[in-house]
Symmetry: C2
C-alpha cells in the first residue's frame, strides 16, 4: 500500500485550519449530524474494513483484550454516531469572551477564545477514537490530524473516509479530518515534529507512547498520563463510607486511569478498617507495608516500586500512616498527580488534604472514579491531563481552544 508523506498531510491539515476555525456553530453541528447519520448508513463498509483488521490481529496472535478493543460491532458504531450527535448538542466554546477591560489611555482589550488550529492525536488500537476525536476537534473549530495504530489502520481509514464525506456534504473542507496512513515508527516521529503545523499534540496511549512523545516531540503537547490514585482513610473517617468509596474506586472498573491503586490508612483506624478491607476486596490482590500485612490476613509484603505502580488490575497497595502529614507526603511522593481522595469528617483534615495534595483533582468523601469529562459535566472528553500547563484534569471542548487578544484603539501610539 502506498502511503502519503506526513509533510504533505500536514500541509493539507494546515491549509484547512482557517476554514474550520471560521465555521459557524450551525455548520459544525450540521456536519456532526451528517457524520453520525453516514456512519450508521455505511456501517457495513466500516465493519468490513474492521473485520480485516481483526483477522490480521488474530493471525498475529494478539490477546483477547486487544481484539476486544479493536473489534467494532453495529452497536459500537451506533455509539460512535451517538457520541457525534451528543457533541453537536454541546455549547460551542469558540468566541467566548474570557475577559475585557479598558486601559487608562482608552485602549480596549478583550481576550477571546479561539480554536487551537490543528490538533494532532496519536492513539492506539481503538478505532472509535477516530470518530470521537474528530467530533471534539470539529466542534472546537480544530482540524483533527489523526495517527492511529497500524493494527487498526483499515478501520481508521474507513471511518475517516465516511467522516470526510460528511464534511464535504456540510460544505466544510474534507481535510478538517486528516488521517495518517503511514503507520511506521519513523512516520510517528515525523508527526511529532511537525512544528508550524500541529498546534497541540495529544497522545492517547500507554507509557511507551508517552515516553516516545517526551523523547521525540518538538510540537507542543499535553500528557494524558498515568493515574496512580490514592484513597486516604483519615482518623476521622466514617468507615462505612470509606469502605464504599474504596470498593467503588478499586473494583468498579479497575483498568481505567481514575481507578484506585493505593490505600492509605491512618493508624488510629487501622485496626478497625484493615480487616474490613480483607473481606470487602476479596477479589483484589493486596500488597502492603509491615502494618498492613499485620492487619490484613491476605496482604503480602509490597515489593520495591509497588507504591508508585499503576496496576490497572485487581491489585492494590496499602500503607498505614501515623498522621495526615505522612499521608500527604506519601501521596505527593508516590502519586502521579491525577486524582487523590480523602475520607474524613474532620474539616481541618479535608482542608489540608485539598490544599497540600498536588494533583489535577482532589476529592473529599467521593470516589476517584468521578474524575472524567462526562462525570464533570463536560459532555465529552478528549483525555485527562496530568500535566500542569494548559489543561489539568479532564479535558473537554474548552481545553481544545486557546485565546487571542483583540486590542482596539483610535490611532493609539505608545509614548
Amino acid at each position: 500500500m502506498s502511503v502519503t508523506p506526513i509533510v504533505e498531510l500536514g500541509r493539507r491539515a494546515a491549509a484547512a485550519a482557517p476554514a474550520v476555525a471560521g465555521a459557524s456553530t450551525a455548520r459544525k453541528n450540521e456536519a456532526l449530524g451528517i457524520a453520525a447519520d453516514l456512519l450508521e448508513a455505511r456501517a457495513s463498509e466500516v465493519l468490513a474494513a474492521n473485520s480485516d483488521d481483526v483477522a490480521a490481529a488474530g493471525e498475529r496472535g494478539e490477546s483477547a483484550t486487544v481484539i476486544d478493543r479493536l473489534e467494532l460491532t453495529t452497536a459500537k458504531i451506533a455509539a460512535m454516531a451517538a457520541g457525534l450527535r451528543q457533541v453537536a448538542g454541546l455549547a460551542d466554546p469558540v468566541g467566548e469572551v474570557l475577559g475585557g477591560w479598558v486601559r487608562p489611555n482608552g485602549l480596549r482589550i478583550t481576550q477571546v477564545r479561539v480554536p487551537l488550529g490543528v490538533v494532532g492525536i496519536i492513539y492506539e488500537n481503538r478505532p472509535n477514537v477516530t470518530s470521537d476525536a474528530f467530533g471534539l476537534c470539529l466542534k472546537s473549530g480544530n482540524v483533527a490530524f489523526l495517527r492511529g495504530s497500524s493494527g487498526a489502520i483499515r478501520s481508521n481509514l474507513s471511518i475517516a473516509a465516511v467522516l470526510r464525506d460528511a464534511l464535504v456534504k456540510a460544505e466544510l473542507p474534507a481535510d478538517a479530518l486528516v488521517m495518517v496512513d503511514d503507520t511506521s515508527r519513523d512516520a510517528a516521529v515525523e508527526f511529532m515534529q511537525l512544528r508550524g503545523v500541529i498546534d497541540c499534540l495529544i497522545p492517547r496511549g500507554g507509557p511507551s507512547l508517552i515516553a516516545s512523545i517526551q523523547l521525540h516531540a518538538t510540537v507542543p503537547y499535553i500528557i494524558d498520563g498515568d493515574g496512580n490514585c490514592h484513597l486516604y482513610v483519615d482518623a476521622a473517617a466514617d468507615l462505612d463510607m470509606a469502605e464504599e468509596i474504596l470498593v467503588n474506586g478499586k473494583t468498579q472498573r479497575p483498568s481505567v486511569c481514575n481507578a484506585l491503586e493505593s490505600l492509605v490508612v491512618h493508624a488510629a483506624v487501622a485496626d478497625a478498617f484493615l480487616p474490613r478491607v480483607d473481606t470487602t476486596l476479596a477479589d483484589v490482590e493486596l500488597v502492603g507495608d509491615e502494618r498492613a500485612v499485620a492487619g490484613i490476613v491476605r496482604c503480602e509484603p509490597a515489593e520495591e516500586g509497588d507504591f508508585s505502580r499503576e496496576f490497572l488490575d485487581l491489585k492494590m497497595s496499602i500503607r498505614v500512616v501515623d498522621s495526615i502529614d505522612e499521608a500527604i507526603s506519601h501521596v505527593n511522593a508516590s502519586g502521579s498527580g491525577h486524582s487523590e481522595a480523602i475520607v474524613t469528617g474532620d474539616l481541618r483534615a479535608a482542608d489540608r488534604f485539598i490544599a497540600e495534595v498536588d494533583a489535577a483533582a482532589v476529592l473529599v468523601n467521593a470516589s476517584t472514579r468521578f474524575v472524567d469529562g462526562e462525570e464533570f459535566g463536560f459532555g465529552a472528553e478528549i483525555g485527562i491531563s496530568t500535566q500542569k500547563l494548559h489543561a489539568r484534569g479532564p479535558m473537554g471542548l474548552r481545553e481544545l481552544t486557546t485565546a487571542k487578544y483583540v486590542v482596539r484603539g483610535d490611532g493609539h501610539t505608545r509614548g
Copy 2:
C-alpha cells in the same frame, strides 16, 4: 569553582515548592519588600560581583550592546528593587476560584487557581532577570529555578544570595530561589530534562536558545518567540493615523519583539501612502516587493526570506496587496503569531482581520508596541508567549499558575 549538580539543585527546588505554594499573600509580599530593601542595602556587594563579570566580558571582547545589558548600576539595582515592590502590590492569583458547579448527583466541583510548583527560567546576559523572575515566581507561589548565562554568573549568584537571605528573613525557604551555578551546556540540557522537578520551563532568549529547548527539553515549556509583526494599511485607512502607528511601531524601540518588521499596503492607497513612508521612515532601511520598490525611492528589492525575517533593527519589509484577503494570507504565512495590526475605518475589514489573522494579539488602529504585560495592565510580565498552549500573548502572574479541581461529596460512589 566547584559547582552543584543540577539534580541536587532540582531536589532542593522541588522540596521547597510545597512551602512556597502554601505561603500566604502577606508573607510573600513581606518577602518581596525585604528583598527590595536588601538589594538596595547590599548594592555595593552586587555591583562588585557585576564588575568582575563586566571585566571578563571586556576581556572576551564582547560588544558594547552585550556589555550594556550585563552592566549593573545603582540605578538599575534601584529599578530591580522597585520591580519587586511593584509585584508585591499586584493581586495574588493563587486561590482564585475559576468556576464551580453542582452535578445532578449532588457532587460539588470547583476549579481553583494554584501555583505551578517549580518554574524553570533560562535566560541570557541580563542579571536583572534574576530579580524580576524571582519576584513573579514568588508572588505566584512558585519556586524560581533559574539558569542564567555564564557571562553573568557572578552577578546572578550575588543577586540570588541577597534574595535568598531575604526569603529566610521572611521565614520562607531559601530554596524558593535556586540558582544554577553550573553554566556549562551539558548542565543546561540536564536542566531542560528535569522531569518531575520543573513544572514549566520558560526560555528568555534568542532563536538559538529556543531551538535548543525544542531539541532537548523534556519538561513542559512555553516559547517566548520571535515577533515578526505586520502593520496592514487597509484601503479604508486614515493615512495620517497609519503613518503615526507605522512610525511608532517601527522606530520607537526597534529591538523589541513587538516592534514592526513589515508593512503591508492595500494597492488602492499605495500611491498616496508609499511616498510618505519614504520620508517618515527616513532612518529606516526599506526592502520590498516590485510595487513597493516602484512607489518608494529608497526601497530596495527584498531578498529571499526578508518577509519572514525579524530584523530587530531599523529595517523594514514592504509589500503591496490587492485585497484584504491577500493581506491576511500574507500575514498568516509570514508572521510569527505575535502581534498584527490593521489600520482601517471599515468595520468589515476590521472584523475580518480580527477573526482571520492567527496571532496572540490582533490590533485595530493601535500600535503593536502596546502588546506587553505592562501596557495590558498586568503590572509585570515574565514574557510574551507565541505558542498557543497554556498562555498566548503577554504572560503575567496568572500565566504562572495552573488549576486544581476540588470535588466534594458525601460518600458519593459511581454507579
